[in-house]
Amino acid sequence: MPDLGSALWSHASLSLPGLPRALVRVAIPSLLAAALVVVGPWILDTYTLNILVRALFVAIAALTVDVLWGYSGTLTFGQSAFFGIGAYALAIGFTQFGFGPWQALMALGAAVGLAAVVAGFVGWLSFYPGSTPLYASVVSLVLPIVLVQLLYSGGTFTGSSSGLVGFESFDLSLENWFRLAGGAVLATLVIAWIALSSDAGRVLGAMRDNDERCTYLGIDTARVRIALSVVMGVVAALAGFGYVGFSGVAAPENAGFVFGTQLVVMVALGGRGSLIGAVVGALVIEVASAYLSSSLPFVWELIVGVAFVLVIVVLPGGLFGSLRDASAAMHPRLRVLLGRTLSPVSLATLERTAPAPDRDAVVVEVDSVSRHFGSLSVLSGVSFTARQGELVSIVGPNGAGKTTLIRCLADGRERSEGAVRICGQSIGRLSPDRIVGLGLGRKFQAASVFETLSVADCLRVARTRSERPSLIAASPVLALPAAARAVVESSGLAERLDQEARFLSHGLKQALELAMVLALEPQVLLLDEPTAGLTRAERQGFAAVLTDLVARERLCVLIIEHDLDFVRRISSRIILLHQGRVALDGPVAEIVDDPLIREIYTGSTRPKQAGVTP
């Protein structure tokens, strides 16, 4: 992410109270580990040290897999390729140009540069609006295979299938290699821990839980994922660089698909989404393989295979994930130690930053929008406008094209023909996250929140677009625009700020999503059947919130609704969609008594208050 420095400074003063506590929590275990790293060489024998140095470098690669898979939800088999890039950058550099400080720097630069470029390209290929997690995994599979084939065909330059060996490398004692590798793992762990538990780190969890919701909160998830891939690619390349610097051998196996899957196995066993778990998983497997593969060659791999299958099926959280869940269930205090932040959150209200808008400006202009699926025409020539301070209900029978219309407003690539302008700007073919920037907020039909994030974190993620989150600090203050705060407080979410969203009731989830969308400070709010499945009391609360928003904040609200009584109570205008066209458009009093409405809603073919649209 660019502008890192400035973002960091602007938030430093705001989030300082959160810093010392976090530091203390990292500091004690890291100091203990650092002591182990320093003392280690005096206790362990040469053979074990040898294995451990390699294992530690592998552990760094495993950490990158954990961040990508466990934290951001991209299952990758391709981190081995970046490890291999680092490995071969050193081996080729030293073989071709000999060893020396300049050559070492050049090789390091090549490793970092090449890894960044490849990761950027692979990221661009894997992540685009509408990409699936499976596709990213597919690409990550292809990468190491391509790389290994290139290495095979490189002749003496890459050493082909036997790899490169016999080049002069860093002259460090085994003890110091151990300290270097241990220090590197520790540094990676601490930096990753701080970054992942910061406000920015939360966005990764949000993307893992619900990429679409992130996009509709104005976050360019593809860009975030590409940036993350680049960082993780570079880190893995550095690990490979160190690995070969120590071992003095670069082999195609270091870059291959099988090594890539082994990294995934290590993370799965240790615990995806747990940094310590990834390191422990890597160390245990590497060290045990080294010891047992000579005494029990095939049986050992068999055991790993069985354990892997068992963990995936029975304990998806891996060893440390299950440990964390179990201890959290027993001792709430232990939970804090094991990594989940449970800081008390205080609410604050943000001043409205957007310039005071024209009170009656037209903010939605829909001009002959059509949507075809093949020969099926769902919307044809739909045109209307809506002003600030209007609450427009879109009604119509199932299949009238209501949800399709909402989609065409919120995603520039949806409509087949026609033009849409939000707040005076044409949406063109913009992706949803850019349209959010024009002032549009969309609430989905089924409550769409971040299931494993706390309520406060869900709301913080919603603020990501307007305030670039800090990469190091986790703010204890939750500052929300007045409208969002009002929803949080009136719905009772304020008492549940530290609860995970998946434990909320249906009604509270709907309220949370509404608050998240309002946190964007939209000028236009799209609501798709927000009251479906709510109780009568919840509906009334919802109506009050909406009318208040329209009256006080001068929002323009477009709402899809089936309940005509509800519509009559809240709307200032009604648009009736019928067979993909605007059949009626006018004030409430005129429309509800129109014969067409009667025919559609109470006629012989439809019962009153038709059910839920698909």
Partner: protein, 278 residues
């Protein structure tokens, strides 16, 4: 020229045979069976054992289908069934399964490379070009597999239930179709087809515990790009297999080895849903 055309056709046939089982599982269950490679290996070793016992080579694929199908059904019952809601985890679990199977095969048969004699040897003259008759036989085998499968899907009660499960599993369940059973049988058939592929390709290649792996990625990419339909799979095999042969012949064998994976990845970027409805 004729050799080149025959190369393309036979390569496509081999690719089709190897990927058909993966397609069946992906099409019905929407999960990717990464243990596919080890079922190819199982089939190859079944053929090896069958030839040691002096069974006629024609029977080897049938025996392989039985062995692979039974082991596959057992794997579905024990492991895969738990993971229908978690497709990415299913990839991982089946990968773990393939580690287990690979190690068991190694423990049972050793690591060394072994050979199975081809049931038909020699060459056949086509348009005055001599061509390996076994490779030509595989084209016939590919058509037989495609034909049998289409018959099974369109002509039987099981096929009807399967198609119902593919289209709408919840509705199918609501109509009293035992979708668990459909999945069990599908996974068994998919693994059985992989084993047939193993038995059929062994005379062309050698047999070793990791032999299936080299086929996995190609098969996987072909299935992804075909979007789950058998005719498109055939077409993808012909197009991508053809490009692979051309690239290996005219540019370099190494580039040829990458053709399928790279082209399929690019094609999927342009058309994420595959080419089933193209």
């Amino acid at each position: 020229m004729i050799t080149l055309v025959l190369d393309i056709v036979t390569t496509a046939a081999i690719l089709f045979i190897v990927s058909a089982g993966l397609l069946v599982v992906f099409g019905v269950m929407k999960i990717i069976n990464f243990a596919h490679a080890s079922f190819i290996t199982i089939g190859a070793y079944t053929a090896l054992v069958a030839s040691r016992f002096g069974l006629p080579p024609v029977l080897a694929p049938a025996v392989a289908f039985l062995v692979g199908g039974l082991i596959g059904a057992a794997a579905e019952r024990i492991v895969v069934r738990q993971l229908y809601g978690r497709p990415l985890d299913a990839i991982l679990a089946t990968w773990g399964l393939s580690i287990v199977i690979g190690q068991l095969v190694t423990l049972g048969f050793g690591r060394e490379v072994q050979f199975v004699p081809a049931p038909v040897s020699g060459t056949l003259a086509i348009f005055s070009e001599d061509y390996s008759s076994y490779r030509l036989l595989l084209v016939v085998a590919a058509f037989v597999i495609a034909g049998l499968f289409t018959m099974l899907l369109n002509g039987t009660r099981l096929g009807l239930s399967t198609r119902a499960v593919i289209m709408n599993e919840n509705l199918a369940q609501g109509l009293g179709i035992d979708s668990t059973r459909v999945r069990l049988i599908t996974f068994g058939i998919g693994c059985g087809l992989a084993a047939i592929a193993g038995a059929l390709i062994t005379p062309l290649a050698s047999v070793d515990p990791n032999m299936g792996l080299s086929w996995l990625i190609g098969a996987f990419m072909l299935v992804m790009i075909s979007g789950g339909s058998l005719p498109t799979l055939g077409l993808s095999c012909l197009v991508l297999g053809g490009l692979q042969v051309l690239a290996s012949t005219f540019i370099s064998p190494i580039l040829g080895g990458l053709t399928i994976a790279v082209l399929a990845a690019v094609a999927l970027r342009l058309r994420p849903e595959g080419f089933a409805r193209a």
